[in-house]
């Protein structure tokens, strides 16, 4: 239909596209219909040149002298990212985090649909969260057969994360998002991503803050842990 340029988009660009998209959506909501690379760059905290290069890879959607049409750009980015169709996801582990994810608006806003919830706690099985009934994990294969699942989200306690991952792989799920604080192993052809809510992101932030000579932490109580000795040689 729309003559899309099927070039290969660099990974670094792909990682920024959702950021642009969300900013564009907000601008649109606040009444802005046209946006320049300069403005988009400021809001996304990147350089204007980067924005222009990124967007030019999807095609020439901008208007010289004016900027980009926000609505059209949102649509083009969405198409590029595969968000122009609905992706059914399953969430395993209906605790605090699983519940928060299932109820969050974000999924639906990006055409992800929470199609199934799994948990092994008999007090939770049968409960209806955000319109979806919680089933025992043993029913995963049956559900996956009836409704092909595009992605599995693991929000279980760490000890059962690997078992759940195995079940998901067995059921044909090829993309897994792991929120459990546990390293899991899956076949090489399965896409596995970790989200560590408490650690990785913060750690990076802190390191960057400290390495850019920030003096913000100057007045803080420094409590050092006891270091280990180097291994005996």
């Amino acid at each position: 239909m729309t003559g899309a340029p099927r070039r290969r988009i660099p990974e670094a660009t792909v990682a920024r596209l959702p950021v642009y998209q969300r900013i564009l959506e907000e601008l649109l909501r606040s009444g802005t219909t046209t946006v320049s690379s300069e403005v988009l760059a400021t809001l996304a905290r990147v350089s204007a040149a980067k924005v222009r290069k990124d967007l030019s890879l999807l095609g020439s959607f901008g208007t010289r002298g004016a900027g980009y049409d926000a609505a059209y750009l949102i649509d083009q980015i969405g198409r590029q990212l595969g968000l122009d169709r609905i992706w059914p996801v399953a969430i395993a582990g209906v605790g605090n985090l699983g519940r928060a994810l299932a109820r969050s608006e974000g999924f639906a806003a990006r055409n992800f649909c929470v199609a199934a919830l799994f948990d092994n706690d008999p007090r939770i099985v049968g409960e209806i969260v955000h319109g979806v009934v919680v089933r025992p994990t043993s029913e995963l294969p049956a559900v996956a057969t009836a409704t092909p699942l595009a992605m599995g989200v693991i929000t279980t306690p760490a000890p059962v994360a690997q078992r759940v991952a195995d079940a998901m792989v067995e059921a044909g799920i090829r993309s897994i998002l792991n929120f459990a604080p546990r390293v899991i192993e899956v076949p090489a052809d399965v896409l596995l991503r970790y989200v560590d809510l408490s650690i990785e992101l913060q750690v990076m932030s802190f390191y960057q803050a400290r390495s850019s000579e920030s003096t913000a932490m100057e007045g803080m109580p420094v409590i050092r842990s006891i270091g280990l000795s180097p291994p005996a040689s």
Copy 2:
């Protein structure tokens, strides 16, 4: 004390260090004390050369012919990342997600300490979550004065996210982690990081899955949204 080589560590390496660290901790728990770059690389899903180069930047901690001492390496990585001291964090917004974060083990495991919780809902204020009392957001300045806060975590609904961010900046917080699905603006010297639970990560995963010629989604019901027309020229 430990003669640390204070070289500049590349950002890409810093991003991988927490991954190595967690894997090392798990290996240690399962009884492994020494690990080769090969093994660590496989578990972290990167190349062995990368692991060696990354670790060599922190100093020469490995033993040729044998590998690395897991416990010692964990400690060295922790020191490099600034995790050898305790960082107090404040969480604003004690809903599903805020609660899940406050209760999660991960913070304490990495020397982050949930020092304060804020919410404006009178039904939530006063509640004690994971041993910390929930205060009204108006008390943020007072709390920040008494206990310097290293990081602010925003888990509020989108509409109040900007207001909370402003209050945090005002209170002297220089690192903010935003879980609210809303673009917020802070001064350039404040470190701002977005975590979009439902979107960015999944989107990337999907794009990568599709672009590597995966046939996994072949049998899925494709439901395309209605595309927009190009902007009138």
